[in-house]
Symmetry: D2
Subunit: 139 residues, 4 copies
């Protein structure tokens, strides 16, 4: 059920403490969530969702706990799991790990909006169809 998104951590992602700079980590979690959409919408990410499918999913909340430093010594595997579907929102848990160690745990909430606007809308049917079975299996 969970989707694994692998990040190759580079030299330029690390700060003088020789670990990935904290400011880079939220962007990786977002990249993993966009990867989750691609994996479940026939390769369509946020670009195609907004331009072709008529809806966007802007972030309204994020929270992250950093457990262990991230380095280029191992791939960073970001595991993305949808954890809740609201009337017009979706929540994802993202856990980042390296070499079997949990590096961060995080939660992200996105609203569904009409493309090119900030007007919220209900969850698109195509999304509900994909996510509801996943949530049933979670419970």
């Amino acid at each position: 059920m969970a989707y694994d998104h692998e990040i190759t951590v580079g030299w330029g992602d690390c700060d003088p403490a020789k670990i990935a700079y904290s400011g880079r980590i939220p962007a990786w979690a977002l990249e993993a969530i966009e990867g989750w959409w691609r994996a479940h919408l026939d390769g369509d990410g946020w670009y195609q969702m907004e331009l072709d499918r008529g809806f966007g999913t802007p972030f309204v909340h994020m929270e992250m706990d950093f457990r262990s430093p991230i380095t280029p010594r191992h791939p960073l595997v970001c595991t993305v799991t949808p954890v809740r579907l609201g009337e017009s929102s979706i929540s994802f848990g993202v856990t980042g790990g390296q070499d079997g160690v949990v590096c961060f745990e995080s939660l992200f909430v996105c609203a569904f909006v009409v493309s090119g606007s900030l007007e919220t809308r209900s969850v698109p049917a195509e999304v509900r169809l994909i996510v509801e079975p996943m949530l049933r299996r979670l419970n």
Copy 2:
């Protein structure tokens, strides 16, 4: 008491929805927190703290609520306020606003560690001296 850090939002910070990409926003809040340190430690940011002063302040937790989109139409003012000092940690509230509108509210927790290590240490005296009076005024 509060420290204001101004960000100039650029074209490259915006996504095709014509607003700042969410993945960029946590990095701006961190940039504002580093600015807070510079403003209170004689111009020293994280680089000088780590290399010259012997301590680092890695992030252990962050949470952000996104209230309103950010665009290049106005400067983004990030207001940084220390809100708690623990045995070996410090917490900052960061509020981002544009043209009088709150764009995001956020909270960040940092641990104090010995430079070049992950070993936590107590709050450095020079930091306690600066932050405690601020917290007293908050209460």
Copy 3:
């Protein structure tokens, strides 16, 4: 004539060699060029040029020589000078310095296009009016 754009180099911009990561430097030069436009078009950067003024200036060429490492010890001053105006292009020289030392020298060429398209167009009159006197003074 020249426009100076100051960058505050942060901890997160530096790599484990304790200097700014090379991959960050071109983005700073671009940020400085966008600052040049703001300084000369009543505060309008690329966002307002594209959305309000009807033209864009995509990059078609860049070249950079890196002379000396960049650190957070001093501000990075990027000096931007328009050096050529073609039929439908503009070239900028950007020199980056810290504490009196040249860190990089660079050249950027941008095409003028109609907003929302890749169709090149002649230099907008408002731009020609600003840049031609600068070029005359260069020669």
Copy 4:
């Protein structure tokens, strides 16, 4: 001989013109060059080269020609080819393409230095061994 490095272009990499922001592209070319090193040094990138192998390869020059816009519609394939080995430098050509169209062509020159210093050194034997046969095949 050439090494192909695939970049997944995301929503957050694109600007309001709906194409990848130019400031992001040099960083992708660098990421591809670091991938080349990993592919040829048993998985070691710049981090391991600096920390474990005792040498660094800072950039001294880059030049890029942007031929065609980059979008999230297709993967961006960056083809990296070493094109010259000097006494203490190496040059790479990097061509970026999407769906058979050339998006950028570029050249990068790196110096070899002793880790933790700016002192140049001759090409490490392990690198010469890998690169010289590639250059012979080029000619």
